[in-house]
């Protein structure tokens, strides 16, 4: 008997809602998820994500801190929410915009409905929105701040206030969102269900910088090494003092240029220990090598981006989630190892004179294809090789 038996439908009354973008464009919808009585409009940078499956992983990915996620896939919530699929301790995104929210999830693993999950984690959202129109607008006008809220029922907001909030909402440029999501204190990652040989076959140890790290990355790392997770602000010296076999630079939200001191820290690690960076971590690695980062018009958020592996020309279908990228040809000491086939964006670099590499996309998947898992193997061999 599938999920449903445990999940009686709980149709909730939905109030008419309104989404307004910074440029004044408006969209009608109805409120879902958390609704703070008399609350102010929810604000954030609206981005679209094209995954067909994996909404839960996306919503719980800390890299979305400061952002409102618009799912292009019309039906969201179909298979509910399963604790095992959380990518972090809670969602950090500001809100969720969907065309259709399933009230009655169906999956044997489902523990609760997405609606309840959002409510529990105080994440507001809108349903019934013409998400395709919104996506096309972002595609042409670029990712931008937005505001939304209920315009009906108790605590209803004045559309004018929502519009004002949208105009005033800050973007992500220059904002250090990592501080919001990183762990406050170092901790040792213990794989749930005890997966992965403690410290891996060779008893390796890895220190992972938490800029907003996803659990699936930790799962992969812990399958090959003992993993110590440290706050984003941890000085390089402190990390090296732990004598790790490798240092991992995690994914994370927002503008790499705004992450206080991170580039310097990474620079200090290079050459001392093998380094592997994913997403924000990859951008910081590039920055440490003197590379320049820039903001893409609307970023890459989805599970179907084709990436060319320069080494052998093979194509990897990748999971992506970033608004910033390394500017091509600006990273002195590194080779470009991966390129996005859709738009030529740099997707991977390898340091020429130090055991360090990074990829812009997400080899750990969660959600998305598994095509690039081999990169964790590469990190392992760098570490064993460096011994």
């Amino acid at each position: 008997m599938s999920g449903i038996a445990r999940l009686p439908a709980r149709p909730r009354v939905r109030a008419a809602g309104l989404l307004v973008l910074a440029d004044g464009t408006t969209f009608e919808g109805e409120t879902i998820g958390h609704r703070a009585p008399g609350g102010a409009p929810t604000t954030g940078e609206v981005v679209f994500n094209t995954v067909l499956t994996g909404y839960q992983e996306v919503i719980t990915d800390p890299s979305y801190a400061g952002q409102v996620i618009c799912f292009t896939c019309p039906h969201i919530g179909n298979y509910g929410v399963a604790p095992d699929d959380d990518e972090s301790r809670r969602p950090f995104c500001r809100g969720v915009i969907v065309r259709e929210l399933s009230e009655r999830p169906s999956n044997w693993r489902a523990a609760e409905s997405l609606d309840d999950f959002l409510d529990r984690h105080r994440v507001p959202g809108l349903a019934g929105v013409d998400t395709r129109r919104l996506t096309r607008h972002i595609r042409t006008a670029g990712a931008m701040p937005c505001a939304f809220g209920a315009v009906e029922g108790e605590g209803a907001l004045d559309p004018a206030d929502i519009a004002a909030a949208a105009r005033e909402a800050p973007g992500t440029e220059g904002v250090d969102l990592v501080a919001e999501v990183t762990t406050s204190a170092p901790y040792r990652y213990e794989p749930a269900n005890g997966a992965g040989p403690e410290g891996g076959a060779q008893g390796l140890s890895v220190v992972a910088y938490d800029f907003g790290i996803k659990r699936n990355i930790l799962r992969h790392l812990s399958a090959m090494a003992a993993v110590e997770v440290v706050p984003a602000s941890t000085p390089a010296a402190e990390v090296l003092a732990r004598r790790p076999d490798g240092v991992f630079l995690s994914n994370g939200p927002g503008d790499p240029a705004a992450v206080a001191g991170a580039a310097g820290t990474v620079a200090a690690l290079l050459g001392e220990v093998p380094v592997f960076g994913i997403c924000l971590g990859h951008q910081l690695l590039g920055a440490a090598l003197g590379g320049r980062t820039y903001k893409l018009k609307f970023g890459h958020h989805g599970g179907n981006h084709p990436v060319r592996r320069m080494a052998d020309g093979a194509v990897e279908i990748t999971s992506q989630n970033h608004n910033y990228a390394l500017a091509d040809g600006t990273v002195p000491g590194a080779d470009v190892t991966h390129v996005n086939l859709n738009d030529g964006v740099v997707e991977g670099i390898a340091c020429r004179d130090a055991p360090a590499f990074g990829v812009q996309y997400h080899p750990e998947a969660g959600p998305g294809p598994h095509d690039a898992r081999y990169l964790f193997e590469r990190f392992r061999s760098l570490m064993t090789g460096a011994r």
Binding site: I4, V51, G54, N78, D130, L341, N342, P369
Partner: protein, 1118 residues
């Protein structure tokens, strides 16, 4: 890796006639392949026996062989053309199996022809269920516990080991033929025996049944560089146990978490790599236990399939086109995505809508066949619908099917389950039938819980929840009570759930037009979105649209004059690929003439719904509301010249009267009605002095009886406004007539089609016995100039539906006078109807008697003497089923000419342009033969009648009628025997005519077996009869069925005894079809067969391409 330059010429094998399980999706894939390979500069050689297909249009290949798809014939083609490669992965199971045989017989090696797309080993590993299972377990993928058997004994052993329930699945089969689920040893013995019979290699897989699990399919592509992508995931609404082809299927998969989906994706890649499909598309089926998530692999098709056509239409990613490029060496990243023109094909489409495919069945045409769905595919066509939500796409899909429903209920047919208690309703819904979605809705409407329905049916709770939302909304709408009470938000919510205005009109008993008007007044109108493969992430260059209810449109303005072409909807018996051929040809011709063409259709199998066939494609139901939406949007974005309703069969023709006046191009709606309306039509024929069978019209059984008494029996009864002789019957007396009338008035399938109503009276005609049927296809232009495309003589006499009888160009037995009369009548009718475009007229010619003898030119014998009398049966001012056949026989692009004429051109102009060339004179004879689905319905009587039951057609072309007929039979799957015993059992009225035919067979060295009566008659006339067969209940003589089973009989001739006890004949015919022995049910067919046998002798068929036949100066037969 670039294009392979070592290849110069490539043989593409088509899939032959449309049959259940293999329909025009392979015309779509084959056409794409031919276009791509041609564009790549290869010399394309095409072999396909199906003249109705677009791919066999001579423009699509350098050499087009419309020849039987047999190993012998293909060998001849390969020897003649010595192609460098053969591409077998785009022609369905037929092409795959043929390629395998060509490989096994060493033909490919001998002729230096390479198999591209898939290797023989890959095909063998995927198709042989045993090797496939080993391969899967070898790479750690789970498969249901199973065992193989080659004998019945083995089978029982395996069954005892695994335990029940069990499913039996033969190797190398198509559409689940011979499969079945057995719950106990009793049912198992039949199914196992049937399965061993169905498998060409008599091997069956006996497998633990996992009926009730969730069923999924992934469409996967792989290139030479080992790049793999998933194009589309498809989830079945009906769980395991109902064949995918008979299931409602949904894309993308809706109830898989990313964890489960990625696991399935990994498995699919492991599978395609293990099987070794190096380039191209494959379809891999999975099942998941809803309770535990356990996943197993069901099967893999190492070729493009029905589902890949669906996936292509669902995503905008042209799988067949890409597969063809991959087969000649390209890699995915070297191919540009047609739709974005900016990104490569090496990606996985992201879609932002829901696609639902619904099958269409034809059970109503096979009385006595239960409409229960199982692991054997039985549907004859399908419709696909696109919406932003599942609810919307499901309701759009239901109305696309044209079964009289406009969505999930809210129509008269709703009440069909009222008599059942809740328990009965749930019990019925538990058995999969075409009614299931409606039964589920009815149950939900009564408040039966989703949980209970899930337990009873296995349908996923998520889908049931979606149905419940539709049902709840219906309640809400009913409570609102009228269009007046609807606020904008109400309209928007209802339309977003897919409700048709027609449903609301029924709910509120208002007129559909009023509902539409009120809705538009409230500011709620359809918005057109785009299918773009990327969920709007990139700009789409291809205007492939669907309607939904959102904020904004995406249709761009255009400056060229636009012509909207209405397609023919889902394939069904009586309306198939022929009409798609006409619509596609029209689109090509009109584009070439500078028009912008706009296609509206909802059939995912077709070429017409390929996004680059027309300038714009609307994947929409062909109903008034949906068409009106398209007309509105197109008028708002440019200049619409008009709408073409006469090329898509009856579907668009029915809309002619409803469209804004002046919008219909070509023949006027009034003329269309004049031809369809029995009274007006008869009056016209009288005025023109063209004889018609005596007849009349009736709305009641009494009235019908009166008409029948006036015209006399036997009489023919049928409803008006239907295609394919639907529910048409020959009645022999009053009682018969009353029964027929009752059936027609009754609800059930025909009720859905409209039942009896003032607009749909019953027609009663005198049935013309022993008449030769003739079809004429012609085109008339505005100046009154006429083009007679062809006069076709049918082999079977009138009474066998024109769609089910073989027909011949040029007429083999009609004399010049009769042909002149027929052409004269056709001209007169076309003039009277002021036809501006295509017209098809059917005639029955009585007397003249050339046929009643053994061979042509024989002295007249029997009743049918005297001068021939020509009766007109019907005229359809639209393109007919035979248009593509005529084009292929004569080289005249009839559909293109018709389309241009509809759009205002004159025949003279088209001659001047060179589009219209004179028909190829003589030199060859063309025979079109129908292909019937009886092997799918073993219990159906194979007897032919006025109700059409064929699903497809084949064509035979050769120097003589006999040879062409022999080819047509071979192409249809029953090779005429060269020797052996022919078993005769004739109705009294056929006995004289049968004599000479039997005599001829004896002269040709056949021996004769016959049932007692027939035997006596033959012997009396001096025909030696070796075996006398007993009729049912007779003691003496061998048993008919035994004789057939014994394999001694090489052909059966069995003609019905009027309406008398058919039992006897029926079981003979059934036995013949079960043992795949040619079975002829008319003397006419037998006569033709004998001509074929005589002309062919023991020579192999000579092959020749259409291009050669159409070449102005005729070459001698190679």
């Amino acid at each position: 890796m670039p294009r392979r330059d070592d290849l110069k010429s490539i043989l593409v094998i088509g899939s032959g006639p449309i049959v259940i399980g293999q329909a025009c999706e392979f015309d779509y894939s084959g056409t794409q392949a031919c276009r791509v390979l041609g564009a790549e500069g290869y010399r394309v050689i095409l072999a396909n026996s199906n003249p109705a297909t677009i791919m066999t249009d001579p423009d699509f290949a350098d050499r087009t062989y419309v020849e039987p798809l047999t190993v012998e014939v293909l060998t001849a083609i390969i020897e003649r053309e010595s192609p460098d490669a053969v591409l077998p992965t785009l022609g369905g199971q037929t092409a795959l199996n043929l390629a395998m045989q060509l490989h096994e017989r060493g033909v490919l090696r001998r002729c230096g022809t390479e198999m591209i797309g898939a290797s023989a080993t890959a095909i063998a590993t995927a198709e042989n269920r045993e090797r496939f299972k080993d391969a899967m377990t070898g790479i750690g993928l789970a498969v249901p516990d199973s065992g193989f058997a080659h004998t019945f004994g083995e089978a029982v052993g395996v069954a005892e080991r695994i335990g029940f329930p069990l499913i039996v699945r033969p190797s190398y089969i198509l559409g689940g033929a011979g499969t079945g689920i057995a719950t106990d040893m009793a049912s198992f013995t039949d199914i196992a025996a049937g399965g061993l019979d169905a498998s060409p290699v008599s091997e069956i897989l006996i497998e633990r049944s996992i009926a009730g699990w969730k069923e999924y399919e992934l469409e996967v592509m792989r290139d030479r560089a080992d790049n793999c992508v998933v194009i589309c995931s498809i989830e079945n609404f009906d769980p395991m146990g109902v064949h995918t082809g008979d299931s409602i299927t949904v894309a993308p998969a809706q109830t898989l978490s990313d964890v489960e989906f990625q696991q399935m994706r990994d498995a699919a890649f492991a599978c395609i790599r293990r099987i070794g499909v190096e380039t191209g598309g494959s379809n891999i089926q999975f099942a998941i236990d809803p309770a535990s998530g356990e996943m197993v692999v069901i099967e893999m098709n190492p070729r493009v399939s029905r589902s890949s056509a669906l996936a292509s239409k669902a995503t905008g990613f042209p799988i067949a086109k890409i597969a063809a490029r991959l087969a000649v060496g390209y890699t995915l990243d070297e191919i540009v995505n047609d739709i974005t023109r900016a990104t490569p094909a090496s990606f996985e489409p992201a879609i932002d809508y829901v696609v639902t495919k619904l099958p269409r069945w034809a059970f109503e045409k096979f009385p006595g066949i239960p409409d229960v769905l199982g692991t054997r595919m039985q549907s004859v066509g399908e419709a696909m619908a696109i919406g932003r939500t599942f609810a919307e796409s499901l309701q759009k899909g239901l109305r696309s099917l044209e079964t009289g429903r406009f969505g999930l209920g809210c129509d008269p047919a709703e009440s069909s389950f009222d008599a059942w208690s809740d328990d009965e309703l749930v019990r019925h819904a538990a058995v999969a039938t075409p009614d299931r979605p409606f039964q589920l809705a009815a149950a939900l409407l009564r408040g039966v819980s989703v949980e209970r329905l899930h337990r009873a049916t296995g349908v996923d709770p998520w889908f049931l929840d979606q149905l419940e939302r539709i049902v709840d909304e219906r309640g809400h709408l009913a409570s609102i009570g009228s269009a007046a009470g609807m606020r904008r938000a109400d309209w928007r919510r209802a339309k977003r759930l897919g409700f048709a205005d027609a449903q609301l009109a029924w709910l509120w008993n208002a007129a559909e037009e009023e509902v539409r008007a009120a809705r538009l007044a409230a500011g709620v109108r359809a918005t057109m979105k785009t299918v773009d493969t990327c969920a709007a992430e990139f700009e789409a260059r291809t205007p492939y649209h669907y309607s939904t209810y959102e904020d904004t449109d995406e249709v761009s303005d255009s400056d060229r004059p636009k012509v909207i072409i209405l397609g023919s909807g889902p394939n069904r018996i009586g309306q198939g690929v022929e009409f798609d051929y006409c619509c596609v040809q029209a689109s090509f011709a009109l584009r070439a003439a500078g028009f912008e063409t706009v296609m509206v259709n909802c059939n995912p199998e077709t070429v017409s719904t390929d996004y680059d066939t027309s300038d714009r494609l609307y994947f929409e139901p062909v109903t008034w509301e949906d068409v009106a939406n398209v007309i509105d949007v197109e008028s708002a974005t440019g200049d619409v010249v008009g709408v073409i309703v006469s090329l898509g069969g009856q579907t668009p023709l029915k809309l002619a009267g409803l469209l804004r006046s002046g919008l219909v191009l070509g023949t006027s709606p009034d003329s269309i009605d004049l031809a369809e309306d029995r009274e007006r039509w008869s009056a016209l024929c009288d005025r023109l002095g063209i004889p018609q069978p005596a007849g009349g019209m009736a709305l009641s059984a009494e009235a019908a009886a009166a008409v029948a008494d006036r015209v006399g029996y036997p009489a023919l009864v049928r409803p008006s406004y239907v295609l394919g002789g639907r529910a048409m019957e020959i009645v022999y007396d009053g009682a018969d007539l009353r029964r027929a009338m009752k059936e027609m008035a009754a609800s059930g399938s025909l009720g859905r089609e409209g039942g009896l109503a003032a607009q749909r009276p019953v027609l009663i005609d005198r049935f013309l016995e022993d008449a030769v049927e003739v079809d004429v296809d012609a085109v008339r232009d505005a100046t009154g100039a006429m083009l007679i495309g062809a006069v076709m003589e049918h082999v079977e006499e009138a009474g066998v539906h024109s769609g089910d009888s073989a027909c011949v160009i040029p007429p083999p037995t009609l004399d010049a006078e009769t042909i002149a009369t027929i052409e004269g009548h056709t001209r007169a009718i076309a003039d009277a109807l002021d036809v501006r475009g295509p017209i098809n007229v059917q005639y029955a010619v009585q007397g003249g008697g050339q046929r009643s003898g053994g061979e042509r030119g024989d002295p007249v014998v029997g009743s049918a003497g005297g001068a021939p009398r020509v009766f007109v049966i019907e005229a359809n001012p639209r393109a007919s089923r035979t248009v593509p056949f005529v084009s292929k026989a004569t080289g005249v692009p009839l559909a293109k000419v018709a389309a241009r004429v509809i759009a205002g051109a004159t025949l003279d102009e088209l001659r001047a342009e060179g589009l219209l060339r004179p028909p190829v004179a003589g030199g060859h004879v063309s025979v079109k033969e129908a292909v019937l689905p009886f092997s799918r319905f073993p219990d159906a009587d194979t007897l032919l009648g006025p109700e059409m039951r064929s699903t497809g057609e084949v064509m035979g072309i050769d120097a003589s009628f006999g040879l062409a007929f022999a080819k047509s039979q071979a192409a249809a799957g029953d090779e005429l025997p060269g020797a052996g015993t022919v078993f005769w059992s004739l109705a009294d009225r056929d006995k004289d005519a049968g004599l000479r035919v039997a005599m001829r067979l004896v002269q040709l060295g056949f021996s004769i077996a016959a049932t007692s009566g027939t035997a006596a008659h033959l012997r009396a006339a001096g025909v030696p009869v070796e075996t006398v067969v007993a009729k049912v209940g007779e003691e003496s003589g061998v048993d008919a069925v035994e004789l057939i089973r014994s394999g001694q009989v090489s052909m059966v001739v069995n003609t019905p005894r009027g309406r008398g006890p058919r039992a006897d004949g029926a079981h003979i015919r059934r036995a013949a079809s079960a043992h795949r022995i040619a079975c002829l049910t008319t003397v006419a067919a037998a006569r033709a067969a004998v001509a074929g046998i005589a002309d062919r002798g023991d020579r192999p068929f000579a092959v020749r391409s259409l291009q050669e036949y159409h070449a102005v100066e005729q070459l001698p037969l190679a």
